[in-house]
Symmetry: C2
Subunit: 225 residues, 2 copies
Amino acid sequence: MARKSEEERRRDLIAATIREIGASGTLNVTTSQIAKSAGVSPGLAFHYFTDKDTLFLAAMRSILTEYRADVTQALAGTRTPDERLHAIAQASFGMTSFRREAISAWVNFYALALRSEEARRLLSLYHRRLHSNLVHALRPKIRERAPDVARRIGGLIDGLYLRYALDTRTLRPPEEAVGAVDGSEGAQHVLRAIAAECTEVHENDEISMADADPAPMAPLAGPQE
Amino acid sequence: MARKSEEERRRDLIAATIREIGASGTLNVTTSQIAKSAGVSPGLAFHYFTDKDTLFLAAMRSILTEYRADVTQALAGTRTPDERLHAIAQASFGMTSFRREAISAWVNFYALALRSEEARRLLSLYHRRLHSNLVHALRPKIRERAPDVARRIGGLIDGLYLRYALDTRTLRPPEEAVGAVDGSEGAQHVLRAIAAECTEVHENDEISMADADPAPMAPLAGPQE
DNA sequence: CGTCATTAATTGACTCGTCAATCAATAACT
DNA sequence: AGTTATTGATTGACGAGTCAATTAATGACG
């Protein structure tokens, strides 16, 4: 055997890929660039990954794993539903996700999903996980309305992420103030939206309770959409 | 002079560009492809557009103009704030925006914004217009809270658009069911989110009125975020 | 009305650089 | 000595952008 373990090389190459995508803002990154950034020769990339798309998908999986770890860690110390919601919001707009590299990779993977079935699968995996986390945190507060609300909150997170990520201020300075604009504003918005949704659910429940049906145990399982 | 007017040629080339981006799902489209699709020779593209990026930006402007016209038209017949909100939601998820071509172009322009200042400018122009439309429609309902809420609703629209646009079902069938998944579900979500935000604002106003301050004319201009 | 000169759009072959992927040679390890 | 990672030169294809030649229009003049 030679220099490094397969595991390590793969990691290096994936990290280099993300780094280069981050630096260029595109998937138009040459194998040479990536290899150079990983400190290996161009040929080696193809020894570990069959072709460039495979490498990109591996990088995407890596970004997703990283994000997942972030969320998991943030959720670890939580006890109340509100703490959980706070954790999810924070993680989605946290330092890890707002590095230039991560932003660049993330946005480009959206584009990749247009032409790669596998990328689409990974993206929907992320969607389902986020949805599941949100439902879990929302269920104690709004019961059967959780899935419907979670869908909107998930969409809101993605949308706001993109807005802040592509904000001129976030992106403009090539190197100077990398993380100048943090995402905490985005997280605030998400939490406010959640508050609004929950208030409305309770409002409606009270109305329907006071207004229509004297039986206090009406709906528990129903279709969400 | 020869065959066609400059205006017409530009239009043809831009349309072809969008068509090809839609077909391939990438900005990796050759000038030859575009020219062929526009029914002209490869060289001509460079006669009307200095280089490929210029052509892409022109295409992006075209998509934005189209969307704008769509919204304007939808807003034209409206009288009440609710009608206006409905119109905005509908237009954002309408047929025009959900064509495969438009989706592909839109997503790729997000990626383009990572490396092109001009693309970023256009994107933020879209953001400002959407925000302005939303504020205008929300103001009668929630006064000074409108800008804050509009920010979230704008983000929600973008996020949900992406989710439905990249949904496997929307994209999978290469040609068979082009507009199979329409965006009306997305529009529904947006309207529900707006309802929730408005309910909460009123709820809070009532609480603060009943609870804290007997003076009924407290806040009229305040910081939004 | 034709013919020819002028002007401008349009062509497509070509250049020059780039890059994904290959592979025979080599270096590092046991 | 044998095995396996690693190299880097190479190939073959492709594509952006150029440009000299071609074609179609306009109109000037006989």
